[in-house]
Structures are given as C-alpha cells and as structure tokens.
Symmetry: C2
Subunit: 248 residues, 2 copies
DNA sequence: GATCATACTATTGTCGACAATTCTACCACG
DNA sequence: CGTGGTAGAATTGTCGACAATAGTATGATC
C-alpha cells in the first residue's frame, strides 16, 4: 500500500502552493481567520477530522490560542470551500463524503473542464503548450516508474494549465473548488488506484488536440469531459466491487 | 420604459420564494446574520448600493441596530453569493459588475444548464413536465400581452423545474448562484429588453424535446446551452451599440 | 510649490463576557 | 420498562470594548 502521508504532502503541495507564474505578487497580509482556515483545511484534507465530526469552538480556541471570532470566520471560509457544514445553533461539522457526493461532483467538473479546454484551445500560448508538454512528459515518466505521487502531481498541473488558459476567472475559481473537493473524495477512499497507463494515453490524445492547429474545439471538449466521466465510472465500479466484498 | 421596481418585486419574489413543493418543511430558525444577509441581498439586487461602494460596519450597525458580529457573518454570506468582495483590513465592497462579469458568467451557466437538461430528460416526472408546460403557457400569454414582468417570472420557473429534476444538489446550488448573479447583471443594465418572441419559440422547442420519448439527450443539451449563449450574444450586441452611442 | 514625515481619525480585527439555545442526564409518572 | 418533563451542562449567538491597521490631513523641509 502506498504511503498516504507522503502522497498527501506531495499532492497538497502542488494543489495548495501559489502558482509559479504569480511569484511576483507580494504575499497578501491575512488575518488570523484566514491562517486558521488554511490550517484546518489541510487538517481536514489529511483526515485528522472524521466526517460528521463537530468542530467545537471551545476546543479549537484552546488549540490555536485565539478567541472565537477568527474561528468563526475560518468556519465560514471552510463552508465556502465545501469542507464543512454550518448548522445554525448546532455547530460546524466536517462534511460526510459519500459516493453520492462524488457522483454529483464529477459530472459538473467534467462539463466545466471540457468547457475550459474548448475555450483554451483557441487562445493558448506556445509557452503554456510547452509547459503542458513538460507536465505530460513527467506524467509519462511517473507511469514508467509506477510513481503514483508524481503522476497525480503533474496530472493536476496539466489540467491547471489549460484551465488557466481559458481566460475565465469565474470558471477557474469554480473549478478550483470542485477539484479540491474531488481530491478530498479521492483520499477518503485512498485504497483506489487509477489505471495510470490508460489515463496517460488519454492525456496524450488531449495534448495532441491542443497542439494541432485544426482541432475541432467541440471534439476536444467532448474528449476532456468524457475522460473525467470515465474516471468516475472506473472509480464507482471499483467502489461497487469493494462494497460488495465488504458487505459479504 | 418598464417599471423597474415592480419588475424587481415580481422577479425577486419568484427567485427568492421558498419552493412550493417544500411547504411541508418547517421554517428553519436563523440568526440575525442570516436575516441581515437576506435584507442586504435584496438591497444590493435592487441597486440601493452602488458598485464599488463600501459597506461600512458602523453605518450598518446603526441601520440594523445590532452589533458587528452578525454583520460580519452577513458579509461572509454575501461574499459566498458573489455580491460583495471582502478585502482584508480594508472592508467589504459591493462588486462592480462589468460586461466581463457577464461574459464570464453566461458560458458557465449555459454549460451547466445544458448538463442539467441532459440529466433531467431521462428521469423527469410527468408531473414536472405538466408544470413546465403550464409555465410555458404562461410565458406565451406574457408574450402576447407584452408583459415582461410575467415573462421573466415564468421563464425563471421553467428553468428551475428541469434543473431540479436533474437530481444533482451540487449542480442545483451552483446554478442558483450563477442565476442570481445573472439576474443582478441584467438589472444593472435594465435598459436592455430581450426579444421575447424569439426566446419563447426556443423554449417551445425545448419543451418538445422534454416531452418526446425518443429525444437525443445530447441534442437537448446543446439546445439549452446554445439558447443561453445566444442570449449572451444578443445582450453583448445590444451593449456594444449602446456603448458606441454613449461614447460618441 | 512639491514631497515626505508625522499625528490624527476612521475602520476593521480581536477579545472576553453575557445571553439564548440546544443537548444530556436524571427523575417522576404511567 | 418506557415515556415525558425538568434541571443542569455544554455550545453557539450576540454584544461592547480595546487593539491594530489603513486612510487622511497637517506641517516641515528642500
């Protein structure tokens, strides 16, 4: 079995790190609430808190040594990310993730990533294409080395590159949330391992579409969308077999 | 020119009212924060606050007669809805809406409503179909009577019905946000009036697709998506002409 | 007269305390 | 033994005050 903690740190670092392109930006000064939200976000993604568990304000007050005001702000932030659920006068609870959440998330993400690809293919820069190719190359090496950590990292980067190139900020932020939730789901069922070779071949095809000058944007869109929906199918199929075995 | 206030109350009532189907639910007890958020939401949609205007905590404290805690919670809620922007240590500002916001919003909404239609067509109930037909009928009467208020109301309801039928809660809530923003955009440029007849004809076609037993879901999806993107084109075209006239 | 430093004001950030509500354990009653 | 009610504890909701920061106006210096 893979080392889940190492896998986390690798992928989380890719997902959470500031984009290399925006290194010129000065770090924005944020308050306690944002810092706590970031800490809790990682803690939840890493599985420190179980689904359904209540995030008591008193406990966290002791843990972080701050008052409840910034804590409550952090809760709002986490709710916006879809990681917790705030029930008035009851408290804040880490979301339970079920297969239904995954079934709801993937088709939306598929549709929007497909849209992003369609929008991006007409305006993507040669520089970005080169970066995608580099990411794809690293994905290929990861497949050969059977290094799942590495594959996931570069796979995330690959998608991120063309999503950014779509030039639609609202689409980008919407997808960031969906992708983060998706990652969370994946790690909640970490026993599942994708068929890396198959995934890699599809991304090769996607790359070729981006590079070709006379690509039909509609076709590329369908290709990307289908690829994500297939990943869902594969995952659900695996899950079904697992649950059948478990239930017996 | 149409009476914008009356139009507001009509459309907002449709958009904001609890679904008739959920009348059995007991009203959820909400705190001051949620109430204030609701009030501010309507105030912003109605244009009481200008884009870029700061929502000072002190002023609103006097206006509502509450402390700053629930106010700050309301701000978080409004930020989640995309109506304001919170800049740390600076304050909360009503979002400036430009044509770019609209250009970003519509394609995403189009893609997701198309997806919703595709998902819905295979599982929609006869009861819901009847309701859609009723809404469509009322849309037709509104066109004949040139009653824009009425048309928008039933048009919103029509879309709401098949979105609900998709059976994907995440998709539903995501679209609710996008649709609310879209409505806000529309009212910010309230001089624009859609071609109701053309819109009505498209919806007739959509209705036929939903009713036919051998409809290609992919075709319906494209139809819905295209319809929304056409509305964007029409709007942008109008805006361009308006800006050219204004700029001269 | 322009620019930079500085004091002052206004606004947001954080805190601890009190109020309101919900949850829990216990007890009486059928 | 199960049910309903009540008192207590635990938790969230709200408040007013103080701290920290950003914005503004004033004045000194070149």
């Amino acid at each position: 079995m893979i080392d889940s903690v190492a896998l986390f740190s690798t992928i989380l670092s890719v997902l959470l790190m500031a984009l290399p392109d925006t290194l010129t930006e000065i770090k924005k000064p944020v308050g306690l609430g944002a810092q706590i939200a970031e800490t809790l976000k990682i803690a939840i993604l890493e599985g420190e808190f179980r689904g359904g568990e209540q995030l008591g304000e008193h406990d966290l007050q002791n843990r972080f040594g701050v008052s409840r005001s910034p804590l409550r702000e952090a809760f709002r932030e986490l709710e916006k990310l879809g990681l917790i659920e705030i029930i008035p006068r009851r408290g804040s609870f880490v979301k339970r993730i079920s297969r239904y959440d995954i079934e709801e998330n993937f088709p939306i993400r598929a549709a929007l990533e497909g849209l992003a690809a369609q929008l991006a293919v007409q305006k993507i820069s040669d520089e970005t294409l080169a970066r995608m190719e580099k990411a794809l190359d690293l994905m290929g090496r990861a497949v050969a080395a059977k290094n799942i950590n590495s594959y996931y990292s570069h796979h995330l980067r690959f998608h991120e590159l063309f999503i950014d190139s779509a030039g639609n900020e609202l689409l980008k932020t919407t997808l960031q949330n969906l992708r983060m939730q998706s990652l969370w789901h994946r790690f909640s069922y970490q026993y599942y391992q994708e068929d890396l070779e198959k995934s890699y071949r599809v991304h090769q095809e996607i790359m070729q579409c981006f590079q070709s000058r006379d690509t039909d944007p509609e076709y590329l869109r369908k290709l990307v969308e289908h690829h994500i929906n297939m990943a869902l199918d594969s995952f659900l199929h695996y899950l079904e077999a697992f649950e059948r075995k478990e239930g017996a």
